[in-house]
Protein backbone atom coordinates (compact mmCIF):
# COMPACT_ATOMS: atom_id res chain seq x y z
CA UNK A 1 0.00 0.00 0.00
CA UNK A 2 1.29 3.42 -0.95
CA UNK A 3 0.92 6.55 1.13
CA UNK A 4 -0.65 9.04 0.93
CA UNK A 5 -4.03 7.51 0.27
CA UNK A 6 -6.48 9.39 -1.90
CA UNK A 7 -10.01 9.37 -0.45
CA UNK A 8 -11.47 12.47 -2.00
CA UNK A 9 -13.16 11.03 -5.08
CA UNK A 10 -16.04 13.50 -4.93
CA UNK A 11 -13.64 16.44 -5.24
CA UNK A 12 -11.96 14.93 -8.27
CA UNK A 13 -10.95 11.51 -9.54
CA UNK A 14 -7.62 10.45 -10.97
CA UNK A 15 -7.61 9.96 -14.73
CA UNK A 16 -8.02 6.23 -15.44
CA UNK A 17 -4.81 5.04 -17.15
CA UNK A 18 -6.97 3.47 -19.87
CA UNK A 19 -8.52 6.88 -20.49
CA UNK A 20 -5.14 8.58 -20.63
CA UNK A 21 -3.89 5.99 -23.06
CA UNK A 22 -6.58 6.78 -25.62
CA UNK A 23 -6.04 10.51 -25.12
CA UNK A 24 -2.30 10.57 -25.78
CA UNK A 25 -2.33 10.23 -29.61
CA UNK A 26 -4.70 13.19 -29.76
CA UNK A 27 -2.15 15.30 -27.93
CA UNK A 28 0.62 14.27 -30.30
CA UNK A 29 0.31 13.08 -33.90
CA UNK A 30 -3.47 13.55 -34.24
CA UNK A 31 -3.51 17.20 -33.31
CA UNK A 32 -6.01 18.65 -35.79
CA UNK A 33 -8.75 21.14 -35.00
CA UNK A 34 -12.10 19.32 -35.39
CA UNK A 35 -13.49 22.49 -36.97
CA UNK A 36 -10.97 22.26 -39.83
CA UNK A 37 -13.13 20.97 -42.66
CA UNK A 38 -10.48 21.08 -45.35
CA UNK A 39 -8.07 18.28 -44.43
CA UNK A 40 -7.77 14.87 -42.75
CA UNK A 41 -6.23 16.32 -39.58
CA UNK A 42 -9.55 18.05 -38.99
CA UNK A 43 -11.67 15.14 -40.22
CA UNK A 44 -10.09 12.54 -37.98
CA UNK A 45 -10.45 14.89 -35.02
CA UNK A 46 -14.09 15.45 -35.88
CA UNK A 47 -14.69 11.70 -36.11
CA UNK A 48 -13.10 11.22 -32.71
CA UNK A 49 -15.31 13.94 -31.27
CA UNK A 50 -18.40 12.28 -32.73
CA UNK A 51 -17.38 8.89 -31.37
CA UNK A 52 -17.00 10.41 -27.91
CA UNK A 53 -20.37 12.08 -28.27
CA UNK A 54 -21.89 8.66 -28.85
CA UNK A 55 -20.11 7.17 -25.85
CA UNK A 56 -21.41 9.94 -23.61
CA UNK A 57 -24.94 9.64 -25.01
CA UNK A 58 -24.93 5.89 -24.37
CA UNK A 59 -24.11 6.39 -20.70
CA UNK A 60 -27.37 8.24 -20.15
CA UNK A 61 -29.33 6.54 -22.96
CA UNK A 62 -29.52 9.66 -25.09
CA UNK A 63 -29.00 10.41 -28.76
CA UNK A 64 -25.47 11.65 -29.65
CA UNK A 65 -26.99 14.72 -31.28
CA UNK A 66 -28.30 15.74 -27.87
CA UNK A 67 -24.83 16.08 -26.34
CA UNK A 68 -22.91 19.35 -26.39
CA UNK A 69 -19.39 19.76 -25.04
CA UNK A 70 -18.49 22.32 -22.40
CA UNK A 71 -15.47 23.07 -20.23
CA UNK A 72 -17.01 21.25 -17.27
CA UNK A 73 -20.08 20.75 -15.14
CA UNK A 74 -20.00 24.30 -13.80
CA UNK A 75 -20.33 25.66 -17.31
CA UNK A 76 -22.95 23.02 -18.17
CA UNK A 77 -24.98 24.04 -15.15
CA UNK A 78 -24.64 27.70 -16.06
CA UNK A 79 -25.71 27.13 -19.67
CA UNK A 80 -28.67 25.00 -18.61
CA UNK A 81 -30.02 27.32 -15.96
CA UNK A 82 -29.19 30.74 -17.38
CA UNK A 83 -29.90 29.51 -20.91
CA UNK A 84 -33.33 28.07 -20.20
CA UNK A 85 -34.41 30.98 -18.04
CA UNK A 86 -33.37 33.66 -20.50
CA UNK A 87 -34.82 31.89 -23.51
CA UNK A 88 -38.18 31.16 -21.90
CA UNK A 89 -38.65 34.28 -19.82
CA UNK A 90 -41.69 35.30 -21.82
CA UNK A 91 -43.37 32.08 -20.68
CA UNK A 92 -42.66 32.39 -16.99
CA UNK A 93 -40.21 33.66 -14.44
CA UNK A 94 -40.18 30.94 -11.79
CA UNK A 95 -37.43 28.41 -11.14
CA UNK A 96 -37.32 25.66 -8.55
CA UNK A 97 -34.19 24.13 -7.12
CA UNK A 98 -33.01 22.76 -3.76
CA UNK A 99 -30.90 24.26 -1.00
CA UNK A 100 -28.25 21.53 -1.31
CA UNK A 101 -27.31 22.08 -4.96
CA UNK A 102 -23.76 22.76 -6.05
CA UNK A 103 -22.67 26.40 -6.02
CA UNK A 104 -22.71 26.44 -9.83
CA UNK A 105 -26.47 25.92 -9.70
CA UNK A 106 -27.15 28.10 -6.67
CA UNK A 107 -25.08 31.02 -7.92
CA UNK A 108 -26.71 30.82 -11.36
CA UNK A 109 -30.13 30.90 -9.67
CA UNK A 110 -29.15 33.82 -7.48
CA UNK A 111 -27.92 35.64 -10.54
CA UNK A 112 -31.28 35.06 -12.21
CA UNK A 113 -33.02 36.62 -9.21
CA UNK A 114 -31.09 39.80 -10.02
CA UNK A 115 -32.51 39.55 -13.56
CA UNK A 116 -36.04 39.50 -12.20
CA UNK A 117 -36.66 35.78 -11.90
CA UNK A 118 -38.20 34.27 -8.82
CA UNK A 119 -36.48 31.20 -7.39
CA UNK A 120 -37.81 28.68 -4.88
CA UNK A 121 -35.07 26.90 -2.96
CA UNK A 122 -36.71 23.75 -1.63
CA UNK A 123 -35.54 22.32 1.68
CA UNK A 124 -34.60 18.66 2.01
CA UNK A 125 -35.41 16.16 4.74
CA UNK A 126 -32.93 15.27 7.48
CA UNK A 127 -31.67 12.42 5.30
CA UNK A 128 -31.02 14.83 2.42
CA UNK A 129 -33.87 13.63 0.21
CA UNK A 130 -36.24 15.97 -1.57
CA UNK A 131 -39.94 15.58 -0.82
CA UNK A 132 -41.43 15.16 -4.30
CA UNK A 133 -44.88 16.17 -3.10
CA UNK A 134 -43.42 19.45 -1.92
CA UNK A 135 -41.87 19.88 -5.34
CA UNK A 136 -45.17 19.18 -7.09
CA UNK A 137 -46.93 21.69 -4.82
CA UNK A 138 -44.31 24.34 -5.58
CA UNK A 139 -44.81 24.30 -9.34
CA UNK A 140 -46.89 27.24 -10.57
CA UNK A 141 -48.03 28.33 -14.02
CA UNK A 142 -44.96 30.58 -14.02
CA UNK A 143 -42.49 27.73 -13.43
CA UNK A 144 -40.16 27.14 -16.39
CA UNK A 145 -37.39 25.07 -14.85
CA UNK A 146 -36.76 22.57 -12.08
CA UNK A 147 -33.10 21.86 -11.30
CA UNK A 148 -32.34 19.04 -8.86
CA UNK A 149 -28.97 17.36 -8.61
CA UNK A 150 -28.67 13.63 -9.25
CA UNK A 151 -26.32 12.99 -6.34
CA UNK A 152 -24.96 15.38 -3.78
CA UNK A 153 -21.24 16.07 -3.73
CA UNK A 154 -20.93 16.26 0.05
CA UNK A 155 -23.28 13.61 1.36
CA UNK A 156 -23.73 11.46 -1.75
CA UNK A 157 -27.52 11.37 -1.40
CA UNK A 158 -29.23 10.31 -4.64
CA UNK A 159 -32.48 12.10 -5.46
CA UNK A 160 -35.54 10.35 -6.94
CA UNK A 161 -34.96 11.59 -10.48
CA UNK A 162 -37.63 9.44 -12.13
CA UNK A 163 -40.33 10.73 -9.79
CA UNK A 164 -39.21 14.31 -10.22
CA UNK A 165 -39.04 13.87 -13.98
CA UNK A 166 -42.57 12.50 -14.11
CA UNK A 167 -43.89 15.47 -12.19
CA UNK A 168 -42.05 17.97 -14.39
CA UNK A 169 -43.16 16.32 -17.62
CA UNK A 170 -46.76 16.25 -16.48
CA UNK A 171 -46.63 19.92 -15.62
CA UNK A 172 -44.73 20.91 -18.77
CA UNK A 173 -41.69 22.20 -16.90
CA UNK A 174 -38.08 21.73 -18.02
CA UNK A 175 -36.15 19.37 -15.78
CA UNK A 176 -32.40 19.82 -15.40
CA UNK A 177 -30.18 17.64 -13.28
CA UNK A 178 -26.60 18.31 -12.28
CA UNK A 179 -25.22 14.80 -12.70
CA UNK A 180 -21.58 15.70 -12.08
CA UNK A 181 -21.56 13.18 -9.21
CA UNK A 182 -24.29 10.89 -10.49
CA UNK A 183 -23.42 10.11 -14.09
CA UNK A 184 -21.33 7.00 -14.35
CA UNK A 185 -22.08 6.07 -10.75
CA UNK A 186 -25.83 5.49 -10.86
CA UNK A 187 -28.02 4.31 -13.72
CA UNK A 188 -29.33 7.25 -15.67
CA UNK A 189 -31.87 7.15 -18.45
CA UNK A 190 -33.00 10.42 -19.95
CA UNK A 191 -36.17 8.82 -21.31
CA UNK A 192 -37.25 6.87 -18.24
CA UNK A 193 -36.40 9.82 -16.02
CA UNK A 194 -37.87 12.46 -18.35
CA UNK A 195 -34.71 14.50 -18.18
CA UNK A 196 -34.47 17.56 -20.42
CA UNK A 197 -30.98 18.72 -19.46
CA UNK A 198 -28.14 16.84 -17.78
CA UNK A 199 -24.76 18.24 -16.71
CA UNK A 200 -21.79 15.89 -16.84
CA UNK A 201 -18.23 16.40 -15.65
CA UNK A 202 -15.11 14.65 -16.96
CA UNK A 203 -12.95 14.76 -13.87
CA UNK A 204 -15.51 13.18 -11.56
CA UNK A 205 -15.67 10.01 -13.65
CA UNK A 206 -11.97 9.26 -14.17
CA UNK A 207 -11.73 11.50 -17.22
CA UNK A 208 -9.71 14.69 -17.63
CA UNK A 209 -10.35 18.07 -16.04
CA UNK A 210 -11.47 20.94 -18.26
CA UNK A 211 -14.15 19.01 -20.11
CA UNK A 212 -17.82 18.39 -19.48
CA UNK A 213 -20.99 17.85 -21.39
CA UNK A 214 -24.55 19.03 -21.37
CA UNK A 215 -27.38 16.85 -22.59
CA UNK A 216 -30.07 18.96 -24.26
CA UNK A 217 -33.21 17.08 -25.30
CA UNK A 218 -34.21 17.23 -28.96
CA UNK A 219 -37.70 15.69 -28.74
CA UNK A 220 -39.54 17.62 -27.55
CA UNK A 221 -36.94 20.16 -28.46
CA UNK A 222 -35.43 22.09 -25.59
CA UNK A 223 -34.26 25.54 -26.59
CA UNK A 224 -31.90 27.76 -24.68
CA UNK A 225 -29.83 30.89 -25.00
CA UNK A 226 -26.06 30.42 -25.16
CA UNK A 227 -23.71 32.24 -22.82
CA UNK A 228 -20.64 32.02 -25.05
CA UNK A 229 -20.58 33.04 -28.70
CA UNK A 230 -18.39 32.88 -31.76
CA UNK A 231 -18.07 30.27 -34.44
CA UNK A 232 -21.38 28.60 -33.78
CA UNK A 233 -19.96 25.25 -32.66
CA UNK A 234 -22.20 22.75 -30.85
CA UNK A 235 -25.52 23.64 -32.47
CA UNK A 236 -24.93 27.27 -31.55
CA UNK A 237 -25.25 26.47 -27.85
CA UNK A 238 -21.54 26.61 -27.07
CA UNK A 239 -18.81 28.16 -29.18
CA UNK A 240 -15.08 27.58 -28.99
CA UNK A 241 -12.54 25.11 -30.38
CA UNK A 242 -13.43 21.57 -29.35
CA UNK A 243 -10.48 20.19 -27.37
CA UNK A 244 -10.17 16.79 -29.04
CA UNK A 245 -7.93 15.02 -26.49
CA UNK A 246 -10.16 16.02 -23.60
CA UNK A 247 -13.30 15.04 -25.48
CA UNK A 248 -11.84 11.67 -26.42
CA UNK A 249 -10.95 11.21 -22.75
CA UNK A 250 -14.44 12.07 -21.59
CA UNK A 251 -15.92 9.64 -24.11
CA UNK A 252 -13.67 6.81 -23.01
CA UNK A 253 -14.35 7.61 -19.34
CA UNK A 254 -18.09 7.30 -20.01
CA UNK A 255 -17.66 4.04 -21.92
CA UNK A 256 -15.66 2.53 -19.05
CA UNK A 257 -18.22 3.66 -16.47
CA UNK A 258 -21.00 2.12 -18.50
CA UNK A 259 -19.21 -1.21 -18.82
CA UNK A 260 -18.04 -1.45 -15.25
CA UNK A 261 -20.77 0.28 -13.27
CA UNK A 262 -22.57 -2.77 -11.82
CA UNK A 263 -19.43 -4.53 -10.59
CA UNK A 264 -17.69 -1.35 -9.55
CA UNK A 265 -20.65 -0.05 -7.57
CA UNK A 266 -20.89 -3.29 -5.63
CA UNK A 267 -17.17 -3.39 -4.90
CA UNK A 268 -17.08 0.22 -3.70
CA UNK A 269 -20.23 -0.25 -1.67
CA UNK A 270 -18.60 -3.17 0.14
CA UNK A 271 -15.58 -1.02 0.90
CA UNK A 272 -17.78 1.74 2.26
CA UNK A 273 -19.69 -0.67 4.48
CA UNK A 274 -16.40 -2.02 5.75
CA UNK A 275 -15.18 1.45 6.61
CA UNK A 276 -18.49 2.50 8.13
CA UNK A 277 -18.62 -0.58 10.35
CA UNK A 278 -14.94 -0.41 11.23
CA UNK A 279 -15.32 3.11 12.52
CA UNK A 280 -18.69 2.72 14.21
CA UNK A 281 -17.52 -0.38 16.06
CA UNK A 282 -14.61 1.42 17.66
CA UNK A 283 -15.92 4.92 18.26
CA UNK A 284 -18.96 6.33 19.98
CA UNK A 285 -20.65 9.67 19.24
CA UNK A 286 -20.26 9.19 15.53
CA UNK A 287 -23.05 9.96 13.05
CA UNK A 288 -23.40 9.41 9.34
CA UNK A 289 -24.77 12.39 7.44
CA UNK A 290 -27.30 11.74 4.70
CA UNK A 291 -29.43 8.78 3.78
CA UNK A 292 -27.49 5.52 3.85
CA UNK A 293 -29.60 3.75 1.25
CA UNK A 294 -30.21 6.33 -1.48
CA UNK A 295 -26.57 7.18 -1.69
CA UNK A 296 -23.53 6.97 -3.91
CA UNK A 297 -21.56 3.84 -3.11
CA UNK A 298 -18.36 5.83 -2.67
CA UNK A 299 -19.50 8.52 -0.26
CA UNK A 300 -19.16 8.36 3.50
CA UNK A 301 -19.78 11.60 5.35
CA UNK A 302 -19.30 11.29 9.09
CA UNK A 303 -19.48 13.66 12.03
CA UNK A 304 -17.07 12.83 14.84
CA UNK A 305 -18.58 14.76 17.73
CA UNK A 306 -16.21 16.91 19.81
CA UNK A 307 -13.41 16.70 17.23
CA UNK A 308 -13.02 19.62 14.86
CA UNK A 309 -12.89 18.49 11.23
CA UNK A 310 -9.87 20.43 10.10
CA UNK A 311 -7.72 19.25 12.99
CA UNK A 312 -8.80 15.71 12.24
CA UNK A 313 -7.76 16.18 8.63
CA UNK A 314 -4.35 17.27 9.85
CA UNK A 315 -4.12 14.27 12.12
CA UNK A 316 -4.82 11.87 9.29
CA UNK A 317 -2.72 13.74 6.78
CA UNK A 318 -1.67 10.54 5.00
CA UNK A 319 -5.28 10.25 3.90
CA UNK A 320 -6.59 12.91 1.55
CA UNK A 321 -10.16 13.66 2.60
CA UNK A 322 -12.28 16.75 2.73
CA UNK A 323 -14.12 18.52 5.49
CA UNK A 324 -17.18 19.82 3.71
CA UNK A 325 -17.11 20.51 -0.01
CA UNK A 326 -13.84 21.30 -1.74
CA UNK A 327 -15.26 24.57 -2.94
CA UNK A 328 -16.00 25.89 0.50
CA UNK A 329 -13.46 24.14 2.70
CA UNK A 330 -11.10 27.09 2.44
CA UNK A 331 -13.63 29.16 4.33
CA UNK A 332 -14.53 28.68 7.97
CA UNK A 333 -18.27 28.45 7.52
CA UNK A 334 -19.67 25.02 8.21
CA UNK A 335 -21.05 23.22 5.18
CA UNK A 336 -24.36 24.64 3.93
CA UNK A 337 -25.38 21.16 2.84
CA UNK A 338 -25.04 19.73 6.34
CA UNK A 339 -26.80 22.77 7.77
CA UNK A 340 -29.66 22.14 5.34
CA UNK A 341 -30.02 18.64 6.74
CA UNK A 342 -30.53 20.17 10.15
CA UNK A 343 -27.11 19.12 11.41
CA UNK A 344 -26.26 21.69 14.05
CA UNK A 345 -23.26 23.94 13.48
CA UNK A 346 -21.32 22.25 16.22
CA UNK A 347 -21.61 18.84 14.57
CA UNK A 348 -21.16 20.27 11.09
CA UNK A 349 -17.72 21.43 12.17
CA UNK A 350 -16.80 17.85 13.01
CA UNK A 351 -17.67 16.27 9.68
CA UNK A 352 -15.32 14.54 7.29
CA UNK A 353 -16.11 13.32 3.81
CA UNK A 354 -14.43 10.08 2.79
CA UNK A 355 -14.72 9.64 -0.96
CA UNK A 356 -14.00 6.13 -2.19
CA UNK A 357 -13.60 5.16 -5.81
CA UNK A 358 -12.26 2.97 -8.55
CA UNK A 359 -8.74 2.71 -7.17
CA UNK A 360 -9.54 2.39 -3.47
CA UNK A 361 -8.37 -0.91 -1.99
CA UNK A 362 -9.38 -2.92 1.05
CA UNK A 363 -5.92 -2.37 2.54
CA UNK A 364 -6.40 1.35 2.25
CA UNK A 365 -9.75 1.11 3.99
CA UNK A 366 -8.28 -0.90 6.84
CA UNK A 367 -5.41 1.52 7.22
CA UNK A 368 -7.78 4.47 7.17
CA UNK A 369 -9.99 2.94 9.86
CA UNK A 370 -6.98 2.44 12.10
CA UNK A 371 -5.63 5.94 11.58
CA UNK A 372 -8.98 7.65 11.95
CA UNK A 373 -9.90 5.83 15.14
CA UNK A 374 -6.53 6.64 16.69
CA UNK A 375 -6.71 10.29 15.66
CA UNK A 376 -10.25 10.75 16.94
CA UNK A 377 -9.32 9.22 20.28
CA UNK A 378 -6.25 11.45 20.58
CA UNK A 379 -8.11 14.59 19.65
CA UNK A 380 -10.93 13.78 22.01
CA UNK A 381 -8.36 13.51 24.78
CA UNK A 382 -7.38 17.02 23.83
CA UNK A 383 -10.96 18.27 23.49
CA UNK A 384 -12.47 20.29 26.34
CA UNK A 385 -15.91 19.37 25.01
CA UNK A 386 -15.22 15.66 25.26
CA UNK A 387 -14.00 16.21 28.83
CA UNK A 388 -17.18 18.03 29.74
CA UNK A 389 -19.34 15.34 28.22
CA UNK A 390 -17.44 12.71 30.18
CA UNK A 391 -18.12 14.74 33.31
CA UNK A 392 -21.80 14.62 32.47
CA UNK A 393 -22.17 18.26 31.51
CA UNK A 394 -24.86 19.00 28.93
CA UNK A 395 -23.08 21.18 26.38
CA UNK A 396 -26.35 22.81 25.41
CA UNK A 397 -26.70 24.18 28.92
CA UNK A 398 -23.37 25.99 28.75
CA UNK A 399 -23.37 29.68 27.91
CA UNK A 400 -20.56 30.00 25.42
CA UNK A 401 -18.55 33.17 25.12
CA UNK A 402 -19.03 33.51 21.36
CA UNK A 403 -16.61 35.88 19.78
Amino acid sequence: MKLPIYMDYQATTPVDPRVLEVMIPWFTEKFGNPASRSHPFGWEAEQAVERARTQIAQLIKADPREIIFTSGATESNNIAILGIARFHKARGNHIITTVIEHKAVLDACRHLESEGFSVTYLPVAANGLLDTQLLADSITDQTILVSVMAANNEIGVVQPLAEIGAICRKRGVHFHTDAAQGAGKIEMDVEAMNLDLVSISGHKIYGPKGIGALYVRRRPRVRLQAIMFGGGHERGMRSGTLPTPLIVGLGEACALCRQEMPAETQRILNLRKRMEQGIMKQLTHVTINGDTEHRLAGNLNISFAYVEGESLMMAIKDIAVSSGSACTSASLEPSYVLRALGVNEELAHTSIRFGLGRFTTEDEIDYAIKVVVRAVNNLREMSPLWEMVQEGIDLNSVRWAEH
Partner: protein, 132 residues
Protein backbone atom coordinates in the same frame (compact mmCIF):
# COMPACT_ATOMS: atom_id res chain seq x y z
CA UNK B 1 -4.06 25.06 3.13
CA UNK B 2 -0.42 24.58 3.84
CA UNK B 3 0.51 24.91 7.47
CA UNK B 4 3.59 26.59 8.73
CA UNK B 5 6.20 24.26 10.24
CA UNK B 6 5.79 25.80 13.70
CA UNK B 7 2.06 25.13 13.65
CA UNK B 8 2.70 21.57 12.56
CA UNK B 9 5.32 21.09 15.25
CA UNK B 10 2.98 22.25 18.02
CA UNK B 11 0.09 20.36 16.52
CA UNK B 12 1.99 17.11 16.35
CA UNK B 13 3.66 17.50 19.75
CA UNK B 14 1.32 19.69 21.72
CA UNK B 15 2.82 20.93 25.01
CA UNK B 16 0.89 20.77 28.26
CA UNK B 17 -2.27 19.03 27.18
CA UNK B 18 -4.44 18.15 30.13
CA UNK B 19 -6.31 19.55 33.06
CA UNK B 20 -5.58 21.00 36.48
CA UNK B 21 -7.95 20.74 39.40
CA UNK B 22 -10.41 23.50 38.68
CA UNK B 23 -11.47 23.66 42.32
CA UNK B 24 -7.96 24.48 43.51
CA UNK B 25 -7.87 28.12 44.60
CA UNK B 26 -4.47 28.54 42.96
CA UNK B 27 -5.87 27.44 39.62
CA UNK B 28 -7.56 29.79 37.21
CA UNK B 29 -9.63 28.30 34.36
CA UNK B 30 -10.47 30.12 31.17
CA UNK B 31 -12.89 28.73 28.62
CA UNK B 32 -13.40 30.71 25.42
CA UNK B 33 -14.98 30.17 22.03
CA UNK B 34 -18.05 28.12 21.13
CA UNK B 35 -18.61 24.73 19.53
CA UNK B 36 -20.84 26.31 16.90
CA UNK B 37 -17.95 28.53 15.79
CA UNK B 38 -15.69 25.52 15.44
CA UNK B 39 -13.33 26.30 18.27
CA UNK B 40 -13.33 26.09 22.06
CA UNK B 41 -10.21 26.65 24.12
CA UNK B 42 -9.78 25.74 27.76
CA UNK B 43 -6.69 27.19 29.40
CA UNK B 44 -5.77 26.59 33.04
CA UNK B 45 -3.02 28.27 35.04
CA UNK B 46 -1.70 27.52 38.49
CA UNK B 47 -0.22 30.52 40.27
CA UNK B 48 2.19 30.11 43.14
CA UNK B 49 2.47 32.33 46.21
CA UNK B 50 4.99 34.58 44.44
CA UNK B 51 2.38 35.39 41.81
CA UNK B 52 4.22 33.33 39.18
CA UNK B 53 2.46 30.89 36.88
CA UNK B 54 4.17 27.61 37.65
CA UNK B 55 1.97 25.36 35.58
CA UNK B 56 -0.39 25.67 32.63
CA UNK B 57 -2.55 23.16 30.81
CA UNK B 58 -4.89 23.33 27.88
CA UNK B 59 -7.51 21.44 25.99
CA UNK B 60 -8.73 22.69 22.64
CA UNK B 61 -11.46 21.78 20.21
CA UNK B 62 -10.48 23.48 16.99
CA UNK B 63 -8.29 23.48 13.93
CA UNK B 64 -4.54 22.91 13.90
CA UNK B 65 -3.83 26.60 14.34
CA UNK B 66 -6.09 26.79 17.38
CA UNK B 67 -4.35 23.81 18.94
CA UNK B 68 -0.91 25.25 18.13
CA UNK B 69 -1.88 28.67 19.52
CA UNK B 70 -3.00 27.18 22.81
CA UNK B 71 0.04 24.95 23.06
CA UNK B 72 2.36 27.89 22.40
CA UNK B 73 0.61 30.03 25.00
CA UNK B 74 1.01 27.41 27.73
CA UNK B 75 4.73 27.34 26.99
CA UNK B 76 5.03 31.10 27.05
CA UNK B 77 3.13 31.80 30.24
CA UNK B 78 4.85 29.18 32.39
CA UNK B 79 7.30 30.98 34.67
CA UNK B 80 5.79 34.36 33.95
CA UNK B 81 3.98 36.60 36.40
CA UNK B 82 0.32 37.26 35.78
CA UNK B 83 1.03 40.73 34.47
CA UNK B 84 3.69 39.40 32.12
CA UNK B 85 1.24 36.78 30.86
CA UNK B 86 -1.39 39.42 30.28
CA UNK B 87 1.10 41.37 28.19
CA UNK B 88 1.06 38.59 25.55
CA UNK B 89 -0.90 39.85 22.57
CA UNK B 90 -2.56 37.90 19.78
CA UNK B 91 -0.18 39.61 17.35
CA UNK B 92 2.78 37.94 19.09
CA UNK B 93 1.17 34.52 18.76
CA UNK B 94 0.17 35.05 15.15
CA UNK B 95 3.67 36.21 14.30
CA UNK B 96 5.39 33.35 16.06
CA UNK B 97 3.22 30.78 14.27
CA UNK B 98 3.06 32.75 11.01
CA UNK B 99 -0.71 32.36 10.93
CA UNK B 100 -2.44 33.24 7.66
CA UNK B 101 -5.18 35.90 7.81
CA UNK B 102 -8.00 33.33 7.98
CA UNK B 103 -6.43 31.88 11.14
CA UNK B 104 -5.79 35.11 13.05
CA UNK B 105 -8.92 34.46 15.11
CA UNK B 106 -7.12 31.47 16.66
CA UNK B 107 -4.49 33.78 18.15
CA UNK B 108 -7.22 36.14 19.36
CA UNK B 109 -8.87 33.22 21.07
CA UNK B 110 -5.60 32.26 22.78
CA UNK B 111 -5.12 35.79 24.08
CA UNK B 112 -8.71 35.77 25.36
CA UNK B 113 -8.05 32.44 27.05
CA UNK B 114 -5.18 33.94 29.08
CA UNK B 115 -7.40 36.83 30.18
CA UNK B 116 -10.22 34.53 31.05
CA UNK B 117 -7.99 32.23 33.09
CA UNK B 118 -6.44 35.15 34.96
CA UNK B 119 -9.85 36.65 35.65
CA UNK B 120 -11.04 33.35 37.09
CA UNK B 121 -7.92 33.08 39.27
CA UNK B 122 -8.32 36.63 40.59
CA UNK B 123 -11.97 36.05 41.33
CA UNK B 124 -11.04 33.02 43.40
CA UNK B 125 -8.32 34.95 45.22
CA UNK B 126 -10.88 37.54 46.23
CA UNK B 127 -12.78 34.67 47.77
CA UNK B 128 -15.21 34.54 44.91
CA UNK B 129 -17.00 31.59 43.43
CA UNK B 130 -15.69 28.49 41.74
CA UNK B 131 -14.76 28.30 38.14
CA UNK B 132 -17.61 27.95 35.63
Amino acid sequence: MAYNDKVLEHYEKPRNVGSLDKNDTHVGTGMVGAPACGDVMKLQIRVNDDGVIDDAKFKTFGCGSAIASSSLVTEWIKGKTIDQALAIKNKDIAEELALPPVKIHCSVLAEDAIRSAVEDYRKKQKGGSHAP
